[in-house]
């Protein structure tokens, strides 16, 4: 190697190390801080203790909020995935004039509908319907916001599934329900799995909608509660936050691993031409 190459190589490795550190440090903090007797915002070798866990479990709302998050995530994910799958299938297979325009419009509007601009109308509507502080209603609103993107992605996926599968099933006498259950859903499973995880992650991390629509601290999900974890002085409660953050991260990682192992994230239908 010429000195020039050595220099280039060293620079490359140093750059990659810096990038890696940038992303790794918060992860390491998440792994060490929950077990440190005096957790700070910096990264340090922990003075091992489980005291933080004790305090977090004794917190009146911490565990409850994680449960709330699960309810909210499951409701929103279930609604979004089921409706998006059926809608995407219909939009993929039925000829409607202006179908693509409709989809793009939906996608465009969806960023407004659940975006900041629509917060006030949504709040007023939910208030007048008496649905403030309802986790199910909040889940529904979150699902509504995710639907256009979910339909868009799933339609693209189902478009790539050959129609001959369904036609073949029809020739053999399958009813529309049988075609859907026996053929379409299993063949579209990798796409549906992808949307399920995506929707759950979106709902799990959603802050604005639950913050707005769930005023009662007992109903609030983890994403909202996290911002209220402060000590008497008003600064971040570093005893509870690290443990809580770790617990908050676990379900998403677990879901991802489970779905990836069970269904695989693939974006192809699997016909052999």
């Amino acid at each position: 190697m010429t000195p020039r190459q050595v220099l280039r190589r060293t620079g490359y490795v140093a750059f990659m190390a810096a990038v890696l550190a940038f992303f790794a440090v918060p992860m390491l903090w998440l792994a060490s801080a929950p077990f440190d007797s005096d957790p700070g915002l910096g990264l340090a070798w922990p003075d091992w203790t489980l005291h933080n866990w004790q305090v977090t479990f004794d917190h009146p709302y911490a565990l409850g909020s994680l449960l709330n998050s699960i309810v909210l995530g499951v409701v929103a994910t279930a609604v979004a995935t089921v409706l998006a799958t059926l809608a995407a299938y219909a939009l993929s297979r039925v000829r409607i004039p202006g179908r693509d325009a409709l989809l793009y419009l939906l996608l465009l509007l969806s960023s407004v509908v659940t975006g900041t601009a629509a917060m006030v109308p949504i709040f007023v509507m939910m208030f007048q319907l008496g649905l403030i502080n309802s986790q199910y209603a909040t889940g529904l609103v979150i699902a509504g916001g995710m639907l256009p993107a979910a339909i868009f992605i799933l339609k693209d996926f189902i478009d790539s599934v050959p129609r001959s599968y369904e036609e073949s099933a029809r020739v053999f006498g399958a009813s529309p329900t049988q075609v859907l259950l026996h053929v379409v859903l299993p063949v579209a499973r990798p796409g549906i799995a992808t949307i399920t995880v995506w929707a759950f992650v979106q709902a799990w991390g959603n802050f604005l909608l639950p913050f707005l629509l769930l005023r009662d601290v007992e109903e609030q999900p983890a994403a909202v509660l996290l911002t209220t974890l402060k000590d008497e002085g008003g600064s971040a409660n570093l005893t509870v936050i690290p443990v809580f953050s770790l617990l908050y991260a676990v379900p998403v990682v677990a879901l991802y691993l489970f779905v990836s192992k069970r269904y695989g994230f693939r974006f192809h239908g699997g016909i052999k031409a």
């Binding site: 001959s164 073949s168 026996h182 063949v187 016909i271």
Partner: protein, 360 residues
Amino acid sequence: MAGIELTDLSTVYPNGVRAVDDLSLSIADGEFFALLGPSGCGKTTLLRTIAGLEQASSGTVEIGSVDVTRDEPGRRRVAMVFQDYALFPHMTVAQNIAYPLRVRRASRTAQQEAAVRTSSGLGLAELLERRPNQLSGGQQQRVALARAVAMEADVLLLDEPLSNLDARLRLEARTFLKRLQRELGLTTVFVTHDQAEALALADRIAVMSEGRIRQLGSPKEVFQRPANTFVANFIGSTPMNLLPGVVNGGLVDVAGARLKPPSGVDLADGTQVTAGIRPEYLHAATGEEGITGTVSIVENLGVTSLVTLECPGEVMVGVTVPEQEEPAVGATVTAAPDPGRLLLYDGETEELLGEAKVAD
């Protein structure tokens, strides 16, 4: 067991394309029938209309003397093998084959039995637990056939059954398909764009273009006496010579030669005709009236060679000669038609003059 009767059938797509245009056709019980034509001629649409996957715009489809024009595909007792086979990728071979029974909510044992019974006859017994993506193309095709057979339908429809196989396998599959059809005695309709496939497999062929049948007949009829220049052009592995000619004194002037018209065809002097003669039905002649030209290209076809002659009036004529008689490029050759093989087509309508039937 059932025949198929199509009456004044039209299938028009929403964009206004008449894929099947006022077509009537009767397919006998147990017949192996080919729909042949270039892509876009409506043959696949016709097949799909028989299956019920496309809705007929007018006319009727009868299967086994029952009008099924408005019936759902599943109620027509018609099995179909798709061009891509459409084997369900998430099911095993056994589950695929037994699927028609699963739809009817047959018991699991009945499903298993059907899979075993059907698969053994098709050489698939070892593969029952595999998934479609673990099979070769030929195996996939046989699974698709087995699934269609397991349905115990009255009619079997095949959409381009051999097009997804490579050339070598295609010949094997062709023989296999013909034997299977004979054994089952099932009324079978298949679509193909490959004239050799249609000639080899079918009892009768319908040659289609633009949603209409241009000729209906046995492979022999379609090959030996094409009813019009479209069919003449389409059928045959080497293109038929179609040469402009004029009737003159009871003979036909074609490419500098004066040929005797087929018996039974009387034409007035000066009539414009198109003379059709297959390269295979021309032979090198000595001392006989024939088309004389200069050899410009020689293509080796294995047992025979295709020789292209440049004739007077810038007309090209193809002649097939045995390998040992291959002439040199630049030589002058006279080619005469075999007796009874010259066909004349009307210069305007392009229809065959005389009878299209052949004696067996």
